[in-house]
């Protein structure tokens, strides 16, 4: 796991680096936004810790730019400010979480673990390949229960292979993943020597041949050791979401993923039109920009409908026609009419930008097959997910239920934990919200039992708590909670946090479904 810290406060950087290195992460640091950006572009990070108030490029813009460039690294914002608005700006910019400075170091590292676990299904605390288990909490590796002795780098190397079980890594790729940016880069023979040590250790515990050499390419896990049970677990998880995985659904989900990846392209096209509009407002006619605006309108007209933005395609087509038919004539001959043209164009461009600003609409009509079967997601504003809420306070229950149902989420509520497991199995939720102070055992104990249950330990858990003190926060994360919200509940905050999390789950699910079902359908 590679982490980038971007913060101009040297003390914070030093403390965080030390802490993260102790926990076996690979850490790079940058003291301003621009240096951070260069690193983020050059390396693949699992997590970026971003200060909001950064010199040269602030954290919010940094994060927005990352998302526009399809960078999928998890982002945690470090902010000194603590108002709800700031938090919302942060999360809307595409950040996954934030911590408010000054923060407690134990809480901070627990949050990072929770975030990384949430961000990737491969980031589970225990990674397994056949009989080989790697426990990231204990930093231990064992084969059939027999522990392996390895150095920090060798442990990291094994973790890299275990998290990417079918991938071949060359020595240079291993160096890029496991050595800090400012450290003296080792040569290939150093990597080969680590591999040799690992192989010797593996042989000692009976896993001879676990890491194999792919001639001319590098190293990988010997496919004979990749047990079929690994795949079965993931497929079971997908099926337990209660959704029928059909070709069209896979396509629908995949197209949504592509929209997320290529949205920046459409926004760039829109910005060319906006630029053209701005110049003609100033009475300047730039022939080159004019041609570019037509070209980009044409491209948008041809692509947006593909993602369900039918109105976007229509608007782009109208812009294209308006530009082709009227602009030169109007601009050159009749200034009065040119104002009308500017107004018309301005309105169309504005409407188009509004259409593109609605991310959820991506799922609308992505699939309208020729056979006229109904679209999979009929309402563009609905994210499909089911939430189980456990809270004894009926008033709070009603508030949250009403709020989340208006966002299109399905709610199942319980006042106490007596029927919890039965309800969990029958409702099969995608997300769990627990009040920390529910009767009998408290919510923390309930969360711990969910984490210990192999069928449900993947389920995201958000706590509701009346206290925002350090010990509560620490307990939340140590019991396996992913996040918490304090009462009284701020409507915008809880909805933004839940929706962000659900979107990420959806995106992870998409990836799993594609990777484990594609072969079946293609063949």
């Amino acid at each position: 796991m590679r982490i980038l810290i971007v913060d101009d406060d040297k003390n914070i950087v030093e403390v965080l680096t030390k802490l993260l290195l102790q926990q076996n992460y690979v850490v790079d640091t940058a003291e301003d936004g621009e240096i951070g950006w260069e690193l983020a572009e050059g390396w693949q990070y699992d997590l970026i810790l971003l200060d909001v108030m950064l010199p040269k490029l602030d954290g919010i813009s940094f994060c927005r730019r990352l998302r526009e460039r399809k960078n999928k690294a998890l982002v945690m914002l470090l902010t000194a400010r603590d108002s709800t608005t700031d938090k919302l700006i942060g999360l809307d910019s595409g950040a996954d979480d934030y911590v408010v400075k000054p923060f407690n170091i134990l809480e901070f590292s627990a949050r990072i673990r929770a975030l990384i676990r949430r961000g990737s299904t491969s980031a589970l605390p225990v990674v397994t390949c056949g009989d080989l288990h790697l426990d990231t909490n204990m930093h231990e590796v064992a084969y059939q229960g027999k522990p392996l002795k390895c150095s920090r780098k060798e442990y990291l190397l094994l973790e890299l292979f275990l998290r990417n079980q079918k991938r071949v890594y060359s020595c240079q790729e291993i160096i890029a993943h496991l050595w800090e940016f400012d450290a003296e880069p080792p040569n290939d023979s150093t990597v080969r020597s680590h591999i040799k040590n690992i192989r010797r250790e593996l042989k000692t515990v009976g896993a001879d041949g676990f890491l194999e050499t792919v001639y001319g390419q590098g190293y990988r896990i010997n496919p004979l050791f990749i047990s079929a049970t690994n795949n079965q677990i993931v497929v079971q998880k997908v099926q337990s979401s209660g959704k029928q995985v059909g070709k069209q659904e896979i396509l629908d989900l995949s197209v949504r993923e592509i929209w997320q990846q290529t949205k920046g392209l459409s926004l760039e096209r829109l910005s060319v039109m906006e630029q053209f509009l701005e110049t003609i407002k100033l009475g300047i006619f730039d022939e080159n920009l004019y041609q570019q605006a037509i070209h980009n309108a044409h491209k948008l007209a041809g692509s947006l409908g593909m993602f369900g933005f039918d109105s976007g395609s229509t608007l782009a087509r109208r812009i294209e026609i308006l530009l082709q038919v009227e602009s030169q004539f109007l601009l050159k001959s009749q200034p009065a009419d040119s104002r009308k043209f500017v107004k018309q164009l301005g309105l169309l461009v504005l409407k188009l930008s509004q259409v593109l600003a609605e991310p959820i609409q991506v799922s609308n009509n992505v699939l309208v097959p020729a056979t006229d079967t109904p679209p999979l997601v009929s309402d563009p504003n609905v994210i499909s997910a089911k939430i189980l809420l456990v809270d004894q306070d009926l008033e709070v229950q009603t508030t949250i239920k009403t709020l989340l149902e208006t966002l299109g989420l399905q709610m199942v509520c319980l006042q106490e934990q007596e029927h919890f497991w039965g309800m969990l199995r029958s409702s099969n939720p995608d997300f769990l919200i627990i009040d920390i102070s529910i009767p009998i055992n408290n919510g923390l104990a309930l969360c711990r039992s969910v984490r210990q249950n192999p069928d449900w330990n993947w389920l995201p858990v958000l706590f509701l708590t009346a206290n925002d003190d350090f010990s509560t926060r620490q307990q939340v994360f140590s019991m396996g909670g992913d996040d918490y919200v304090t009462k009284p509940i701020v409507v915008e905050e809880i909805s933004t946090r839940i929706l962000n999390r659900i979107k990420r789950i959806e995106s992870i699910r998409t990836k799993i479904e594609i990777s484990y079902t594609k072969d079946e359908f293609i063949s």
Binding site: K247, Q248, I250, L251, D252, S254, V255, I258, W259, Q261, T262, L265, S266, H298, K299, A301, G302, S303, L304, G305, M306, F307, S313, N365, V366, L367, V368, P369, A370, K518, F521, I522, S523
Partner: protein, 140 residues
């Protein structure tokens, strides 16, 4: 259509990727991608696909000229070509028929429809004898 390979030539990344997914997931085709006319012509020669889906507006050479290049080469002459275009008028039908395109699919297309329309135009979803003689036009 297991084993059939299709070459998609389009300079737009989003369209290329969605077309690839649609053709792979819905139609079960193997997809080869090219982002320019030049790359497309190279891959048509080296990969010998079973069909080509060709965008009209390409940065280096437009779709019609690219098609003529394919037709002029005996190695690629036999490969059926389906044109992908944002501009389709009814009057275009005769024009494209005279050029020799197998079919036309208009943009924007719905992802699942692309695969269905492509299979229909190639006759890959029914008896090959029913293959239409004149080019089909799919308005989306």
């Amino acid at each position: 259509m297991k084993g059939k390979r299709i070459l998609v030539i389009d300079d737009d990344e989003d369209i290329r990727e969605v077309a690839k997914l649609s053709l792979e997931i819905i139609a079960g085709l193997d997809v080869i991608l090219a982002r320019s006319s030049y790359e497309g012509l190279q891959k048509a020669l080296s990969e010998q696909p079973d069909a080509i889906l060709l965008d009209v507006m390409l940065p280096d050479m437009d779709g019609v000229k690219t098609f003529q290049e394919l037709q002029a080469n005996p190695v690629t002459k036999h490969i059926p070509v389906i044109l992908l275009t944002a501009k389709v008028k009814a009057s275009d039908q005769d024009h494209f028929a005279s050029l020799g395109f197998l079919a036309l699919i208009s943009k924007p297309f719905k992802p699942a429809q692309l695969a269905q329309q492509l299979l229909a135009s190639l006759g890959w979803n029914e008896c090959p004898a029913n293959l239409p003689k004149s080019p089909q036009i799919f308005y989306n």
